[in-house]
């Protein structure tokens, strides 16, 4: 089952949301860099979920696991990764990746982080023409920060609560392992024990791959 349309839908959603909240960011006095970081983190997390192949995915498949390994990511994400591409978790791959990163770049980048914020952006883009290393380093720094915060129990935002609500809304849920369809219904019909339903505008996660659909039709027997 090809899920290209699902991937394209996700790409459209990311692009549209980022463009449409720009005004909100501006009126809240938040700079463009923060919005770009939001986009980057969002895209990276989508790549890590491996529910589809996205246009922003790194060329080198393995480079994803570098930030993954030394960060504090939800176990569910790690689970799904382990299940889909078990080969990546071998020690050989890991050591290979760390060598992939150019040795000279690393100290240069770290240095720039200590300087003023505005400078940081310019320097990163100059030294790293295709932006890949910069993105990775930024991400690593962020994830290190995040895990530090998690350790000190500082997260108490409203957002956490709402997230918990979604995830815990039903005790039967199985998290990322679940095959789930989220959609709208048009008609649900039952004749004796036979059920038919017409659904539309859906997102589905099936066997760790995500799909988008315009319409869906189901026939089931109770």
């Amino acid at each position: 089952m090809s899920n290209q349309e699902g991937a394209r839908a996700y790409e459209t959603i990311v692009e549209s949301v980022v463009n449409e909240v720009r005004e909100d960011f501006e009126s809240a006095g938040i700079d463009e860099q923060t919005l770009q970081d939001l986009k980057l983190v969002w895209q990276t997390k989508l790549s890590e979920s491996r529910v589809a192949k996205f246009m922003w995915d790194p060329e080198d498949e393995g480079s994803l696991s570098a930030p993954l390994n030394n960060s504090n990511i939800a176990p569910s994400l790690l689970d799904s990764q382990g299940l889909t591409i078990p080969a990546l978790s071998s020690g050989e791959d890991k050591s290979q990746q760390s060598q992939h990163q150019p040795q000279q770049q690393q100290p240069l980048m770290t240095q720039s982080k200590h300087e003023e914020q505005p400078k940081q952006e310019i320097e990163l883009s100059m030294e790293d023409p295709d932006g890949e290393i910069a993105e990775q380093l930024k991400l690593q720094a962020k994830q290190a920060k995040k895990s530090a915060l998690l350790d000190t129990d500082e997260i108490n935002s409203d957002l956490d609560d709402s997230e918990d609500d979604y995830l815990n809304s039903s005790g039967e849920e199985e998290g990322q392992d679940e095959n789930i369809v989220l959609c709208l219904y048009e008609k649900v019909l039952r004749v004796k024990n036979k059920w038919k339903c017409n659904l539309k505008d859906g997102l589905a996660t099936i066997n760790h791959k995500d799909y988008a659909f315009q319409r869906a039709q189901g026939e089931t027997e109770w």
């Binding site: 949301v17 939800a74 989220l182 189901g218």
Partner: protein, 115 residues
């Protein structure tokens, strides 16, 4: 349904959960306020609804044994066991069938979207 008139249901999808995660990172780093994150999620609700409505063509079909059905607060939930799922991109590109042990469907009423 959120104040903007769109369902929040898609926040449970991968694209929604990863956005929630990313926003959470920015909040815990002290870079944005939770209220701004909420506005982003409201926008997300609308963008997902519009994207699925206007930009998708695929058709999904499924058959299986209906294990559980529930209708509560205008939301249908079905749990289908031994379910055959098929996704056709277009008339020409037909997908093959995938069999899953268990499929959960959560569906909100299409007549109440913010149109």
């Amino acid at each position: 349904m959120s104040a903007s008139g769109y369902y929040e249901l898609y926040r449970r999808s991968t694209v929604g959960a990863t956005l929630v995660d990313a926003l959470d990172t920015l909040i815990s780093d002290g870079r944005i306020e939770a209220s701004l994150a909420m506005r982003v999620l409201d926008t997300f609700d609308r963008v997902v609804a519009e994207t699925l409505k206007d930009k998708t063509q695929s058709k999904l079909t499924f058959k299986g044994h209906l294990d559980t059905y529930r209708f509560c607060d205008d939301v249908w939930t079905f749990i289908i066991k031994d379910c055959n799922v098929k996704l056709d991109q277009t008339e020409d590109i037909q997908g093959n069938t995938v069999v899953v042990d268990k499929l959960r469907i959560v569906a909100c009423n299409s007549k109440k979207t913010g149109e």
